[in-house]
């Protein structure tokens, strides 16, 4: 058990119904880099459909029989992960070092993400890794128009995978990509029909993997400062602060903001120049959920200011900035 990480990363593979999650998973499973990964898949719709599409079913893979993941995930997903964890501890399954969870297409990602953190056992053994979201080039645009959970799935992604782009014109694909960039400007985007799918690139290299921290953090700030407008709809913006940040005040402000508006704060992530700390502190949250703050080894670039990237739904960037500044004021 020596090679089992203290905190096993859990990847969420999400995306709308028919957006190619299972196909993506299948391609991922062919990758030798997945050899030490356990996969939890959900059976939904046609009985065993996903199950039969996958070749690599073994003892570490558990099918949840209940159907809708969205309704019942908290109890069942945590039980399934606990079971896998217990079997790994007892040596009944290979000592997997990563867990990938496939959500159903209708799932709001937030309850799934909160499972690990809410469970008193799991939070000591698992942590969230990258969230991978598949977007279908054919139907993605209309899904973003009509289904709020589809927008949420794109906004929370650490990696976006555009599928079926070979079935649309280049202009159509570009229009969808441009739209995705307004919702989520910083997540690397892979075109599944044209590019290789590399498990390592999609699932690993997250903020909590020490070797990849600086690179992961640098990628966040691709949103231009001031590239903000409108109070309506989903938008991303950067809030930068020149002065050092009082950790206590920041904590009270963010918890208060998320308590009232967590539903509309699809993502908050950034780097804080915390008073009394030489190295920056990375903050990373999805809606009401904030990951344990990461103490970086060093600043990712020459920029020494605190910068926070928000992806919000219908909140006014100016109001968020004004509020934070007022709370931090001494």
């Amino acid at each position: 058990m020596d090679d089992v990480p203290a905190f096993t990363p859990v990847n969420l593979i999400t995306g709308f119904l028919g957006s190619g999650k299972t196909t993506l998973l299948q391609r991922l499973l062919d990758d030798p880099a997945m050899a030490d990964t356990a996969v939890l898949i959900n059976e939904f719709g046609e009985v065993g459909l996903d199950h039969h599409l996958l070749d690599r079913i073994d003892d570490t893979m558990v099918l949840l029989p209940s159907g809708c993941l969205c309704c019942t995930i908290r109890g069942e997903l945590s039980a399934a992960i606990r079971d896998l964890h217990g079997r790994r501890e007892r040596g009944e399954v290979p000592p997997f070092r990563r867990l990938a969870v496939e959500s159903t297409g209708l799932a709001d990602p937030f309850p799934i993400l909160s499972t690990v953190q809410a469970d008193p056992v799991l939070r000591h053994h698992f942590r969230w890794g990258n969230i991978v979201t598949t977007i279908d080039a054919v139907n993605g645009g209309s899904q973003l128009d009509r289904r709020p959970e589809s927008v949420k799935q794109a906004a929370v992604a650490d990696r976006l995978v555009l599928t079926k782009s070979d079935l649309v014109t280049g202009a159509q694909a570009e229009a969808l990509v441009a739209r995705l960039r307004t919702i989520n400007p910083s997540a690397p985007l892979v075109r599944a029909a044209e590019e290789p799918i590399r498990a390592d690139a999609l699932l690993a290299h997250d903020l909590f993997a020490a070797s990849a921290r600086a690179e992961a953090a640098r990628r966040w700030f691709t949103v231009e400062e001031g590239a903000q407008a409108h109070g309506a709809g989903v938008q991303a913006f950067v809030l930068a602060l020149d002065e050092t940040v009082d950790w206590t005040r920041f904590g009270l402000w963010l918890t208060m903001l998320l308590n009232r508006h967590g539903e509309k704060v699809l993502r908050v992530k950034g780097m804080l120049n915390v008073e009394g700390s030489d190295a920056p502190v990375a903050i990373h949250g999805v809606q009401y959920l904030v990951h344990p703050p990461v103490h970086m080894a060093a600043w990712p670039d020459d920029e020494r200011r605190s910068r926070l990237v928000f992806i919000v739904d219908g909140l006014e960037p100016a109001a968020i900035e004004g509020s934070l500044r007022a709370f931090l004021r001494r």
Binding site: L252, G322, R330
Partner: protein
């Protein structure tokens, strides 16, 4: 972790993250923990007074949130503070409320 936290299941809130490599926390030793709690109470009271509420430490393990008339509630951590404050105050505690922002600015301007 202390036995009491174990009994209660621990809170695991991000502002009180368990100390481990790579994680930023002030939940390290007794002194740092106590200092952070005191600072937290002081800063929280600056905000809570706008709602007629006050917060105090309870034995270094929880917080007591009280109204001016003495109605009070025990809160474990910041995860529960604002929901409890809204309940006791009978109105939303919204940090984006222009009136709240203006009063915080005046308070220290």
């Amino acid at each position: 972790m202390c036995a009491l936290c174990g009994v209660l299941g621990g809170d695991g809130h991000w502002t009180d993250a368990a100390p481990r490599p790579g994680v930023f926390t002030r939940n390290t030793d007794g002194l740092a923990r106590r200092r952070e709690r005191m600072a937290r109470v002081a800063v929280a009271n600056r905000i809570l007074k706008l709602y007629g509420l006050s917060l105090s430490d309870w034995q270094g393990a929880s917080f007591v949130l009280s109204t001016a008339t003495g109605k009070s509630e025990l809160v474990d951590n910041l995860a529960h503070l604002w929901a409890a404050a809204e309940k006791l105050a009978g109105r939303p505690c919204d940090p984006l409320d222009p009136a709240v922002i203006a009063r915080l600015r005046d308070d220290h301007g």
